[in-house]
């Protein structure tokens, strides 16, 4: 997908007259102080890397032509998210890929085509610049993969101890095509629930990357942009009822919200839920339920039954959905409740979590 150059402005050759590399090896308070050190950091670390005309202007805001937005649809989608993940780097991604994909996916779940992101950094004094550079580079690659541009940003540095290394906030703007209307309350009895692949990978990757478990598993985070997949799904069915990415709280949280919003029941079939053996294994050992594990590249779609096959086929032929499966159905009862038909032949309620999921003692 091509992005209209925001503001259609020529990139100025030099605005600030300094192309020297930022000095030193760590972030200091001077990097957020508004002076030359900050300007150098922003120019060298972000502006050149994220490379787009709106950002290169180095104004306090990005400017975008409404006609360019209008060409993609008739409504704008606007979202924001903050990223504070620990550790910053984990198998399959880092805080930078999360910050781009998280916001891209939040936009995509409305059916929107994501276009522009903002990016605010909160840096802890003493953070090695090399880490910031790695994260910024991940963001560049993630933007490229998702077809979006970071068009405005902000950098703050706080005293050592006032933040944990590096926090990122991104906001995003996308445009929704005419006729697309996706919302949780639109689920209908008889609809089917589709998932775009293996669930729980991100949650397990993060648990493992924290190093407390000492488990030898090669599980990687599923962090990926979903906007391309969503467009492929919309091409197969323009009347998808609900779309949600199953991030914090996992599949359980998202489906409960849909069930409550629509005032309907959802029945999941445990045997149909795609789970990697490694994820199942970690859950068995720690007494965790994979339905509550976080994902960063997984969506749940509620679609009319007559389109189920077409949408599933479209998902399976997209790289972000090749392991897609139909995992459940919407029913009129029990209202506002998610039920799991267990692989064992029983049934149970899948409730929202009260707090965070804690491993069981024995």
């Amino acid at each position: 997908m091509s992005i209209p150059p925001a503001g259609k402005m020529e990139r100025p050759r030099t605005i600030h007259g300094n192309n020297g590399r930022f000095s030193g090896k760590t972030v200091t308070l001077a990097h957020g102080g508004g002076g030359k050190a900050m300007r150098d950091l922003i120019q060298d670390m972000f502006v050149e890397r994220f490379d787009n005309p709106a950002l290169a202007l180095m104004e306090d805001q990005a400017r975008m032509d409404l006609r360019d937005l209008r060409a993609h649809g008739n409504r704008m989608a606007f979202t924001t998210d903050s990223f504070v993940v620990d550790p910053l780097f984990f198998p399959g991604g880092d805080i930078g890929t999360l910050a781009v994909n998280g916001t891209v996916n939040d936009l995509a779940m409305s059916g929107a085509i994501p276009l522009y992101l903002s990016c605010g950094f909160i840096l802890e004094e003493g953070l090695p610049l090399e880490i910031l550079e790695r994260v910024a580079e991940s963001m560049r690659l993630a933007c490229k993969a998702a077809g979006v541009a970071i068009v405005t940003g902000d950098t703050k540095v706080v005293h050592r101890g006032s933040a944990d290394k590096l926090f990122i906030n991104t906001a995003g703007i996308g445009v929704i095509a005419e006729g697309v209307d996706i919302a949780s309350y639109k689920a209908r009895t008889g609809d089917v629930v589709l998932a775009n692949g293996y669930l729980g990978d991100h949650g397990v990757a993060i648990l493992n990357a924290r190093g407390d478990l000492a488990l030898e598993t090669a599980i990687e985070s599923d962090c990926q942009p979903l906007n391309g997949l969503v467009q492929a799904m919309l091409a197969a069915c323009g009347t998808i009822h609900c779309l949600r990415d199953a991030t914090r709280g996992g599949v359980a949280a998202v489906l409960n919200e849909i069930a409550q919003s629509a005032g309907l029941g959802i029945r999941l079939d445990e045997a149909a839920i795609p789970l990697r053996p490694e994820v199942r294994g970690v859950c068995e050992i720690l007494g965790l339920d994979p339905l509550y594990l976080a994902n960063e590249g997984k969506l749940l779609a509620v679609v009319p039954a007559e389109y189920a096959d077409a949408v599933l086929k479209a998902m399976q032929s997209h790289p972000a959905g090749k392991d897609s499966a139909c995992i459940g159905e919407v029913m009129d009862q029990p209202e506002g409740t998610v039920i799991l038909k267990t692989g064992f032949g029983g049934q149970r309620i899948v409730d929202m979590l009260v707090g965070e999921q804690l491993p069981r003692i024995c």
Binding site: L340, F344, D351, L358
Partner: protein, 376 residues
């Protein structure tokens, strides 16, 4: 997944359910109520709800969820002691994850952590010992919790600390023993239990012998049972078979893990480090004689109760709470006056609402709404 899916086979489940139904029809103990089988262990309760076993069983029998969730039965006063220990500025307080949410009279460990206490979640007592190695200037206190299942690993960790001469490590011992508690339940005058599903992992340590009195003095059958859903169905079937044949014996369904004599090495480690307390306070059940252990004085250096000043106050259970009657099978969680109203997993009043293994929390989470019996 190998060695897991075999124990969750829906086809085998269906045929076991059929045999359970046949037996349940045959048994007539001359009582107006359904058969009451207690699963003692919280791990069983968890499996029963997680796999929807409750709805698969015939109406002629009911499962009563027992006291075997060590997190649930921890009295408020002990949680207060944990918080007090954790709030010592030099202390790193190391605990299993699910103990962090248990409410004390003022706060839980999670709240204490939010207010600045250094509370760390560990997966094994050895992780706590490792914290002590890595933070020699701090005092690491491990929150030892659980039945005989977790006692040996705590004991071995303490012995390891002694061997290595690690002096900044200690144990806040809240280990409890299951047998006196089963006895207390059996002694209850309003008891309505017909048989027991015995705890699998406790038995792996203590063996079968300690249960004999249940059959001999109280004439109740007990079947030591594993934790996979098929284990539980087979355990139930074995209890019913005894009842149908008028037998009351201690049987072992979990033979792949539980040897008759238990694990002697583990028992030796436990006996070396721990001794019985005269009594221990249980949430919902009150004080039970000889139901807890403490660190022997030979290892006093590693005993947090001796090393630190702790409040050690007894805090009464909330009056409205009927956990004791639920534990004894007299009422079901839903029949408790405060169930789901003032007592919920977010704001638990009683022990059984605290951990996901507690009967009330399991009812609330998995069974709040009656769901139709699935076609088996």
């Amino acid at each position: 997944m190998k060695y897991v899916d075999e124990f969750r086979d829906p086809g085998k489940a269906a045929s076991l359910i059929k045999r359970i139904e046949e037996l349940a029809r045959k048994i007539d103990l001359g009582q107006a109520r359904p058969l009451h089988i207690m699963e003692v262990c919280g791990g069983h309760t968890h499996t029963i709800f997680r796999y929807g076993i409750k709805q698969m069983l015939p109406e002629a029998m009911e499962l009563v969820h027992g006291p075997g969730c060590p997190v649930c039965v921890l009295p408020m006063g002990r949680v207060d002691d944990c918080v007090a220990l954790a709030e010592h500025p030099e202390v790193i307080f190391a605990t299993f994850g699910d103990a962090m949410r248990v409410p004390g009279s003022k706060k839980s460990l999670l709240q204490a952590r939010a207010e600045g206490a250094d509370v760390r979640m560990v997966y094994s007592p050895l992780d706590a010992l490792d914290l002590a190695r890595r933070h020699p200037a701090r005092e690491v206190v491990f929150f030892g919790l659980g039945f005989e299942t977790t006692m040996p690993s705590t004991a071995l960790t303490l012995l390891q600390a002694e061997r290595e001469g690690i002096r900044n490590f200690s144990l806040f011992c809240n280990h409890i023993t299951i047998i006196p508690t089963i006895k207390a339940i059996l002694e209850s005058p309003d008891l309505e239990l017909d048989g027991f599903i015995g705890p699998g992992h406790v038995s792996m340590i203590i063996g079968m012998q300690p249960y004999r009195f249940i059959a001999e003095q109280y004439q109740k059958p007990l079947v030591i049972t594993g934790f996979e859903p098929l284990d539980i169905l087979q355990g139930i079937w074995m209890v019913l078979k005894q009842l149908a044949e008028g037998r009351h014996e201690i049987e072992n369904q979990y033979q792949r893990i539980v040897p008759e004599e238990g694990n002697r090495t583990a028992q030796d480690a436990v006996n070396r480090v721990f001794e019985l307390r005269e009594f221990f306070e249980w949430r919902g059940l009150g004080s039970i004689d000889h139901s807890g252990v403490r660190v022997r004085k030979e290892y006093a250096w590693y005993d947090a109760e001796r090393r630190f000043s702790i409040p050690n106050l007894k805090i009464a259970d909330p009056k409205a709470c009927e956990c004791g009657d639920v534990l004894k099978g007299i009422i079901k969680p839903r029949e408790c006056k405060v169930f789901g109203t003032s007592c919920t997993p977010e704001t638990p009043l009683g022990a059984l609402m605290v951990s996901s293994e507690g009967a009330c929390a399991a009812y609330y989470t998995y069974g709040r709404t009656e769901i139709a019996k699935p076609g088996v």
